[in-house]
Amino acid sequence: MKLKIMLATAALAMTASAGLGETVKVGMITTLSGGGASLGTAIRDGFMLAIKQANNPNIEVIIEDDQRKPDIAVQLADRMIQSDKVDILTGIVWSNLALAVVPSVTAQGKFYLSPNAGPSALAGKNCHENYFNVAWQNDNLHEAAGGYANTAGYKNSFILAPNYPAGHDALAGYKRMHSGDIAGELLTKLGQTDYAAELAQIRASGADSVYFFLPGGMGISFVKQYADSGITIPMVGPGFSFDQDMLAAVGDAALGVRNTSQWNKDLDNRANAAFVTAYVDEYGRLPSLFASQGYDTANLLLSAMAEANISDRDAFRDALRAANFDSVRGDFEFAANHHPIQDIYVREVVLEDGVYTNKILSLAIENHADIHAANCSM
């Protein structure tokens, strides 16, 4: 299952943007098999597209599959650091894996660029100068959804998420911004595929809306079963559950659902338009939220490589912190805890030329930073 991609062959085709001459080794640990494979695949594809476009001979990427298992992720990280001698790690999808891997990576003086997982435990007191999150802090999209629920007039929400760190962050984020009551709150098993018991409780709860965070296959199962249950109250979710790669498997059941995201393919900026076209050309499918995060992560890395040598850790860190790259989500900057300050939008699932996709409805929160930054003493 080892996939080793060497990109050092393109030396002759060096472009002007290649910058400084030291080779940077990147270790990508992501989920490429099992129930979460579609997320990791999208992150990898987005990341590799940016690497390919940059055509920089000084970057080498090693990709490994963590199978969504924390122990395997830890082993891979150790091996990449000790025998492959990587300088930078990236790729982890799931917060429980990130919590197992990131602290030891940063403690060994390596950089970790998160293209997805942003657990609150790494954003506050335990923030680290070598840890950068290019996606969001976990709470963010859920906070935006809580805010949206207020605007939509939902006063009594039933909320559920898987029982793992990102699930806890999700419910906390939604409750932080939602001013209405909570009709019920459930923590489900990670990887659960049957939600009959939860749906029965939603039906009995008398709630006026449902908020759920169930990434990957869990969300597909939930939305299909929700549509079949006869429950008619509206559902709201973060963008993950209504992501481009999921929608085809969900079909009509997702139509019209409002969800929150920091990115969508119709965001009006030049970098995004170029990204969407290039992604479709390369992979023959529309990019997802996760792909956009992988793409931004690679571009952040490339921007730092153009400014500083990896051997000069402090200069390289400063270059990363400057975030001097064209993000596909428009404006992008890091807060003090190295998590993004960004706009978050409300999207709606629509059918466009026979393809299920999202379109942006409105801005949910502008220039949003997470609240954990205040506890970070960096």
Binding site: M1, L32, S33, G34, G35, A37, S38, T41, N163, E185, L186, L187, T188, K189, G191, T193, D194, A196, A197, E198, A200, Q201, R203, A204, G216, G217, M218, I220, S221, K224, Q225, A227, D228, S229, G230, D245, M246, A248, A249, V250, G251, A253
Partner: protein
């Protein structure tokens, strides 16, 4: 908690149990008759779901899709038995576990190679979708009710097959004394292939039926495999009746536990903590049930062998 919610959860428990039974029945027969631990049983479940999703995509017919899931899983089962499993009957359990674990990897990656990493679309047909009203004001999804009825029907067919037919007689004979029925002139290798394909077909049908409710993706069989093993251990290895009783028991424990445990903790804990504790404990409940049954009856509810 209202009575309606309770009854709905009981129905959910039954439906979950029936699905588990379809997966566990094949596993317990194969284990009981051939003495084989087949970890790749979950992959046959996955093959059923993928076959159903493909055929539903091409033809649009759900009935054809379910028939395809049965046929594809049975064919895959027969192929696997002839190519790999047949060589493992005389080996010890460790070799069987290793070989069938390798089969999981091969079948998963093979499926990914053909269908890709992204989940497939398979939905409930329109004539089975939506809820129906049951007496007492209960709204219950028609599809889940159909699964309960279809599963019970399959269980009945299986019972008739095992108790009333010649093949069933040979299966039962094989269960009690493998060497003896070979000596009596029964073509044991043919019987084994047939039995393995039958178990695979049941798992495949379960995969097809569940696929319409869930996400059809690589790796969907592994979680159900663990539960199927719990079921056959509780029910007693080799006993189809035990598998049925244990499946329903596990289904009810899981579904009722997931609502009763958090409620119980709410009596003496703040709601947020109660949810956390209750969720954690309810996911352990079926394993606690298994441990309790094994203390009470070490060979399982209907098991005879030690």
């Amino acid at each position: 908690m209202s009575l309606v919610l309770f009854i709905e959860q009981v129905l959910n428990g039954f439906q979950f149990g029936i699905m588990l039974f379809l997966t566990a029945a094949g596993l317990t027969l194969v284990f009981g008759v051939m003495g084989l631990i087949n970890l790749a049983h979950g992959s046959l479940f996955m093959i059923g779901a993928f076959a159903a999703a493909s055929i539903a995509g091409w033809t649009g017919s759900f009935v054809l899709a379910i028939m395809a899931s049965l046929a594809a899983a049975a064919a895959a089962g027969a192929l696997v038995e002839v190519a790999v499993i047949r060589k493992l009957y005389d080996r010890d359990h460790l070799d069987q576990v290793l070989a069938t674990f390798a089969l999981i990897l091969i079948l998963s990656e093979g499926t990914r190679w053909i269908f890709g990493s992204f989940p497939l679309y398979l939905n409930i047909p329109s004539y089975l979708s939506g809820p129906i009203s049951l007496p007492g004001g209960i709204q219950y999804p028609l599809y889940r009710l159909t699964i309960i009825i279809a599963g019970l029907f399959i269980a009945l067919c299986l019972r008739q097959l095992i108790l009333k037919t010649r093949i069933g007689m040979q299966i039962r004979a094989g269960e009690s004394d493998r060497e003896m029925i070979a000596v009596l002139g029964v073509n044991i290798s043919w019987l084994y292939t047939l039995l393995f394909a039958l178990g695979a077909a049941l798992a495949g049908v379960a995969g097809g039926l569940v696929g319409a409710l869930q996400s059809v993706q690589v790796g969907m069989g592994e979680p159900i495999l663990i539960l199927a093993f719990v079921v056959i251990v509780i029910g007693g290895i080799g006993s189809v009746k035990g598998a049925l009783v244990a499946s329903i028991l596990v289904g009810l424990t899981d579904r009722l536990g997931s609502i009763l445990m958090p409620e119980a903790f709410k009596l003496f804990l703040p709601p947020a903590d109660a949810t956390l504790m209750g969720s954690a404990l309810s996911s352990m409940l079926i394993y606690i049930l298994m441990a309790a049954v094994l203390v009470w009856k070490p060979t399982g509810l209907y098991g005879v062998r030690v």
